[in-house]
Symmetry: C2
């Protein structure tokens, strides 16, 4: 079960974005496992993708196509990741685009393919192709929930975020979905996330907005430290709600868009952690007082990846020695442990490198039993700060991943 | 339960090494949780220690003492790591040495302290001191098994290795013990390991032998990727079995000693993995065909640390896509995935970056059900090679670490 409030919000329609889906039986029957996005002509689209060297065939194809033109269509299947599938996998990803392009009467390079699911098996291309027409036939502007549901794998809940905002008297919508629960430690993007707005934003700024916001959202979450082969995040601006195109950072509307997008991306990223495989706790790890952001990030990830910290939190055991050990093993140079302070929410557990004098196990345990908690570390040697989001490590993580293919 | 054969061998007496133990009730009653080693005068001793920035008080003290002189005594307690304990922890580690030195009539700097157990609690110094005399009174040359048992924490079995070897007609013994099951991803040494020989070896060569052999043994194992605050490994050569001191690498006896020590260290390191918390499988990860050893090591650890690979092996599921993903996320530059071959023992699962044509799930599953298996990766771009040892990730790992302090 996901941790905290993960309910889908009202998913505002984004003018210029239509979504269709179909049952293609990629892996399991009776589910709408094929999703198609259609963007209106003139939509500016940006994408970031996994840095895993074994990145999947659809990632290769999507990157190549995105470099040629703004895409008009996204085609997403769940159940099969089309990764580790060699040349045939590349062909299948390309053929999916060709087939959809024929039906939709666009160029194949105007289609981006996405896949998520089991690695190392070939796509059932014929079944997938048969689903393309029904998916296109079902295109509608109000199917974000269907899309969020359609792309789920081990997710227990669909994930969405949506807001409206006003610029110069015009109301715009921004809506996005994400999926992912395991193999989550994105490096550039999460497994799959799609966000769109009907605000008018230049291609260059769409790319910049995506890069900036991904860095503090999807690039700051971890479930198990395993970077997926298929991570992709797409941001599209259709411009169809009207207004002049935002082309410059100096445009007064830019910071508003940035703020909304940052909030939506953070929510979508956190939803993945809240639904992390076997998660029973949502944990925010903030490291401040560092010399630079990188060392704060390294230590935050060292804590967030430590199986010992994660199992202690699962057990609601304030075994804070494990947090210290995780700080110490992060490989940060010349760390003066006697300057380090550690808090669990408002309870200081470690003062100047040792146990805080007024710390009690009861106070620590009170925080540890909460479904949501923050581990705050102050390195006492600077002003840099960074935050990472993670979940605990439970029996169910092992169960889910030991059973996933059976 | 530990994986494979972990039985204690006959532990050969090492002339010049005596071991005593006592019940000091550091944490749990009714166990000999305090162990003392005595080395004969003239014994050359070397040590390597954790690189965790939060290294424990006894590690600080041991390093300082070892820099001053060859130690005559080691004093080891289990149940409490004396880590994250600030200035009082340092005092307690030093006082332990002072007290033992008084009783044994040596200098305090001739005593090295070691602690293992829970982090962040102060040593029960009084109880510990009370155990020192009975421990010294019980010194005997035939108590290696007692020592191996005395230093256990979450270990399910004592760990030892012992060999005899002949140099120039003289028979020498080399015997060692280790402990550790969780918080295991040593970086310079494991949690605790003590090895001694009665061969005559110069101080400089004792240090060199330790460094060289640790690199391919304790520095190549991982249970959970968590580097302990207390990792220490000690190698002592008493010289009491006779013969001229070995001072040069060119000495014909040096490679013989190196070979025996390498074998003993490897065995002691592997025993820790075999007894890894919750382990049901012993896994050798070998990466070859690399440009240099570092990239082979990085990829081997990336596989060995992947919770997804480890849970798949626990489930005996040949979900080899997870192995590819772990290779890809290791951060090795310019990896050509189309040159990568992967085997599970003799079964080739991945050929040229995709599924091997003749691979069958049945063949993969056959290997995965074995209690011991090798993952072999060929990067196809050089001649370098490295090997890491690990275990699977099971329900019991979570159980042990969620329950450890209760």
């Amino acid at each position: 079960m996901a941790v905290g409030d993960v309910t889908m919000p009202h998913m505002h329609v984004v003018q210029g974005v239509k979504i269709g889906s179909a049952e293609a039986y990629v892996r399991y029957p009776n589910r709408r496992d094929l999703v198609v996005f259609e963007f209106a002509k003139g939509t500016n689209v940006a994408g970031v993708f996994t840095q895993n060297a074994f990145c999947a065939a659809p990632v290769h194809v999507s990157k190549a196509h995105l470099a040629q033109a703004n895409p008009r269509y996204l085609v997403i299947n769940t159940g099969n990741a089309n990764a580790g599938t060699g040349k045939l996998g590349m062909q299948n990803a390309q053929l999916t685009c060709v087939k959809l392009a024929e039906l939709a009467q666009v160029e194949a390079f105007e289609v981006l393919p996405f896949s998520t699911g089991v690695i190392g098996e070939q796509l059932p291309l014929q079944r997938l192709e048969q689903g393309l027409k029904p998916a296109l036939d079902s295109l509608t502007d109000d199917a974000w929930l269907d899309a969020a549901t359609g792309i789920m794998t081990t997710d227990t809940t669909p994930k969405g975020a949506s807001e409206q905002f006003e610029l110069d008297g015009i109301t715009y919508s921004m809506t996005g979905i994400s999926k992912g629960a395991g193999m989550i430690r994105p490096n550039m993007a999460t497994m799959l996330s799609f966000v769109a707005t009907d605000a008018p934003i230049s291609k260059q700024l769409v790319e910049q907005l995506l890069k900036v916001t991904v860095e503090q959202s999807f690039n700051r979450i971890t479930v198990d430290g395993d970077t997926s082969t298929n991570d992709s995040c797409i941001f599209a601006a259709t411009g169809l709600a009207g207004g002049d195109e935002i082309r410059e950072i100096g445009d007064a509307r830019y910071p508003v868009v940035l703020e909304v997008l940052a909030r939506i991306m953070k929510r979508l990223a956190q939803l993945i952690v809240r639904d992390g495989e076997g998660a029973t706790k949502f944990i925010t790890v903030t490291v401040e007082g560092g010399q630079d952001t990188q060392e704060c990030c390294d230590i935050a990830y060292s804590i967030a990846h430590s199986p010992l910290v994660k199992t202690a939190i699962f057990a609601s055991d304030p075994n804070w020695g494990r947090i210290l050990a995780a700080i110490g093993k992060a490989g940060v140079k010349d760390l003066d442990v006697e300057k380090i302070q550690v808090w669990l929410d408002d309870v200081q557990i470690c003062k100047d490198g040792g146990a805080a004098a007024d710390y009690t196990e009861e106070a620590g345990a009170r925080v540890m039993t909460q479904p949501e908690l923050t581990i705050l570390v102050d390195l006492g040697r600077g002003t840099a700060k960074d935050t990472v989001y993670t979940c605990d490590l439970s029996y169910d993580y092992v169960k889910i991943n030991a059973d996933y293919r059976s």
